[in-house]
């Protein structure tokens, strides 16, 4: 038996897996944490108490993912309310300098949120996500992804009172997200997911800017970058989108019944990139059956080999209950295991 010459890096897979399983980012907060967050806002409990409960919930989700059998884990975002607001002044976060939360704006129906405001030139405030990543990675010997929101989405989903143009705001924001990436890498993180769900907001006008911002965020840094792109007119941006300088792009395949496969068939998919395939719909309580997921995987395997595919839910699972999320992950892993056997991987 060969002697181990190098300590295993828990944050990185030893070798590429066929159909690597992972998740997109968020999970539902257990009731005790939701309650504690509101008590913290009202000043009834202190930061240390909230911190303890956030860690407890994070450990819960790490164990769930291990038990279900995911290969690469997420920490679950128990400390975050919203993916932009967390970096912009949400209670408990370390906000980017120059950002604050604004008044309430309606998102739909009777739902309102505090939309962030860029009120001054942006500056990096020091590590925003590193402690929680370190804590989560310390709990497990499977890799845990670092989770950030991309510069374009950060700016697009905020008001901007400080910059003359969106371009200047986005590129300044990219420098800040890059600093956080560097801190994560310094801490030992290898897989870093930079979400850009707003990337297709203005395809003609802004897509090059979004790509430029991603370059400014990741270029020259030794880590593997993934990006999650949500619902929206993916077909309009596909040929540009695949130029994003990341190793992996993941898309919500299930939500569109795998119609994105047609885009890949018609336009190809770059040789150097992995594809993240969303196989369970996160907007429905309904739990897909294993055969349905297997069918999606088989169709995808007609186009790309197993070692270039990562399998995940369509999006973050924070809108689903704890039980629904577990059930969806279980179905996903069971289907992946069956297909691995089928293809002799």
């Amino acid at each position: 038996m060969a002697t181990q010459t190098k300590t295993k890096n828990a944050a990185k897979l030893d070798r590429p897996l066929p159909l690597t399983t992972t998740a997109v980012g968020s999970y539902a907060k257990p009731d005790y944490l939701t309650k504690a967050r509101s008590e913290f806002t009202q000043g009834k409990i202190d930061r240390a108490e909230l911190d303890k409960l956030e860690k407890k919930a994070t450990e819960y989700w790490i164990r769930v993912q291990e038990k279900v059998g995911l290969d690469v884990l997420v920490h679950g975002e128990m400390e975050r309310g919203d993916m932009v607001a967390y970096f912009s002044g949400e209670e408990g976060g370390n906000p980017i300098k120059g950002m604050k939360l604004g008044g309430l704006v309606r998102s739909y129906g009777n739902r309102y949120y505090h939309k962030p405001i860029i009120h001054d030139r942006l500056e990096y405030p020091g590590p925003m996500t590193v402690d929680m990543w370190k804590y989560a990675q310390g709990l497990t010997d499977r890799p845990v992804k670092g989770m950030l929101t991309g510069a374009y989405t950060m700016v697009e989903w905020s008001f901007d009172e400080a910059y003359p143009t969106r371009r200047e705001a986005v590129l300044d924001m990219a420098r800040i997200i890059r600093s956080e990436v560097q801190e994560l890498v310094k801490a030992g993180c290898y897989y870093i997911q930079i979400d850009e769900p707003a990337i297709h907001t203005r395809p003609e006008e802004d897509f090059q800017l979004a790509i430029e911002a991603m370059h400014a965020t990741v270029d020259g840094i030794d880590a593997e970058f993934h990006t999650h792109i949500c619902y929206g007119p993916v077909e309009k941006v596909y040929t540009e989108m695949v130029k994003l300088p990341v190793k992996q792009i993941h898309l919500a395949f299930k939500n569109t019944d795998f119609s994105y496969l047609d885009l890949i068939r018609e336009n190809g998919y770059p040789a150097g990139k992995d594809l993240g395939v969303g196989v369970t719909d996160i907007h429905t309580r309904f739990i897909e059956n294993v055969d349905e997921v297997k069918d999606g995987l088989r169709r995808t395997l007609e186009l790309l080999p197993a070692d270039r595919l990562w399998i995940l839910p369509d999006c973050g699972l924070k809108t689903r209950t704890v039980e629904e999320s577990e059930a969806k992950l279980r179905v996903m892993v069971e289907a992946v295991q069956a297909i691995r056997r089928e293809i002799g991987a």
Partner: protein
Amino acid sequence: MQTTVVGNYPKILNRPKPARLRNAINKRDRGDLTNEELAQIKDEVTIEAIAEQIAAGIDLVTDGQLRWDDDQTYVARNFKNIEIGALQRYLDTNTYYREPEVNGPVSFQKPTLAPDWEFAHKNSSKPVKAIVPGPYTLASLSVDKHYNSRERLALAYAEALREEIQALIAAGCKNIQINDPVIAFAKEDFKFFQAAIVKLLDGISGAETGVYTWFSDCASILPQMLELPIDVIGLDFVWGRANWDALKTVSFNKKLGLGIVDARNTRLESPDGVAEAIKRAAESVPAERIYAGPSCGLEYVPRETAFEKLKVLVEGARRVEGVPA
């Protein structure tokens, strides 16, 4: 020149003031408030929204559309064969609406807008403009499971919406704004957008009608828009800057809805900036034919910001007119 708004107004106040409508809807959903009690609160907050526009100095107000979840479903849900479907992102915003699903022939059943207008009119010292969803935009943002043709769906919506307009005019409404923003994003559809507007306004008289667009420019279709059988063309000069140049190239024979205060950002304009923009537009359109307003509905910014923006708009407009603020 007059000042106006482009439809909706933020529904709730910010802390520490109570978010009355939001709280009331939550209570109703929990079963702690009856629908009648909720309707009463909707009336009260509508009166407040009208009063706020008037306090800011707006000449032509709306009811703020506080009863509306979105432009797509508020009127269409009362048409025959419409069901309310999934959430969709609204154009290039991070705001969502529910898609009307068309399951059979669309038709008008009972007026939705006329009773709202009458209520607002009774509670306003200024004229109240009614907001009507545009048939083309409504068809573009619906799920068509019946007509298999967006054009035929748009014409069917136009017939049904015409009855809303007739009811508004019968109630005494003199100003009608038709919301058709999608045409600015799909100018190639102009012919069928036009057909829908023509059908919508067929035989309509007795009120000033306008079609409003936002979030983008109408530069390449502006000459054709000036031939529509309508009195006012509303354009967004903040998010559709190309409208400025287009304005110089046409002979603007209608009234202009001049969207110059950014209703999608909290950055506050200055009265001087507003005055300058109005003067610039007045080089192409006589000031007495200008309605100065925000770039779109104000619901994209918090309530307090909306009010501040309207005050700046009015102050800027008064500087142009030489009226002391």
